[in-house]
Symmetry: C2
Subunit: 165 residues, 2 copies
DNA sequence: GGCTTAATGCAACTAGATTGCATTAACTCC
DNA sequence: GGAGTTAATGCAATCTAGTTGCATTAAGCC
């Protein structure tokens, strides 16, 4: 289960920007790549595969095949157009690699109640010192807990259960 | 695929220590719980579900059911006898919550080559500042890359491929 | 417009993890 | 020590994320 959010339909301007970015890689510009990259660029938060599947099968448009979506996401990451981060449950979340929405430069908080992912105003921790000969390829910090609303509701549930007991 | 390591058979002294720890929770002391906790306490590194399944089905002893293992691990974590950490691939790794092997007090490095998990001599990063009303429940840092031996081998492979090309 | 082949869509599959339910075995009481 | 209660277990089925193989489609080139 991933989080949901309302999103305006893909706008033409960002579609063409996404198209240009894809064309710049030298690979083929396909409907699937453009739509996925556009969705990532329009999203206010990192999206998981499921989010994108739901998002892109919305409304009258025909959806993108699950496997194609996986492959497009892999391709975007490989070509530097997207970043991938896995949360503690191991689900990959993707963000567009745009300078103005640079999700890799700050941390994310995942609410265990509603599943929402919130951008934190803090840089990721410095990489630790590794033993000699070891090479760092990546680092992911998963910060989780309850957001304001979920914490409020779970506290309310606990106190009402306490009254009934 | 998880890493492998040789481990001596469960010793009687640690079995009874594990048993006491389980009894102290007030819940039932079962063979499965004792064996799993003992395996975690004897392990030099965090173990994944698969490691434990292999480990506990070894030799003449009858194995523990996959589902039971999942439930026992959940129970151990719930009761503070074990810690859970998921790597970037989403596989949960478990460690015994013992003062002398306190894996939650330092970070782990996961080799993407051989899958080994190595304890790093560094404390986990300080928790980030959260927005008002948010509550932190947990934090996991996944540090990955190549260990000395895998880095050596992958470099050797690259350079030999380069010579043949 | 035709050709080439990268990209797609479909079906099948794998691994980690979960759920439902009947059975087993810890623990309690006598 | 034996019977009763019910938590814990074992089994089958299921779910979710992700992958692989292969035939078909369509992007880009001539």
């Amino acid at each position: 289960m991933c989080f949901n959010f309302d999103m305006s339909p893909e706008s033409n301007s960002s579609i063409s920007a996404a198209e240009a970015a894809i064309r710049a890689t030298g690979s083929r510009v396909t409907v699937a790549r453009v739509r996925v990259l556009n969705a990532l660029r329009s999203a206010p938060k990192p999206l998981c595969h499921r989010d994108l599947e739901t998002l892109l099968s919305n409304r009258r448009r025909s959806g993108i095949d699950r496997v194609t979506l996986y492959r497009v996401l892999d391709w975007l990451v490989e070509n530097g157009l997207s970043h991938r981060a896995a949360d503690a449950r191991g689900v990959s979340r993707f963000t567009a690699a745009q300078p103005h929405i640079e999700h890799s430069r700050h941390m994310h908080f995942r609410c265990t109640g509603c599943g929402n992912v919130i951008c934190l105003d803090a840089p990721p921790p410095a990489p630790p010192k590794l033993p000699k000969g070891f090479h760092l390829s990546g680092m992911e910090l998963d910060v989780r807990g309850e957001c304001q609303s979920c914490h409020y509701h779970s506290r309310a549930a606990i106190s009402s259960a306490g009254l009934n007991a």
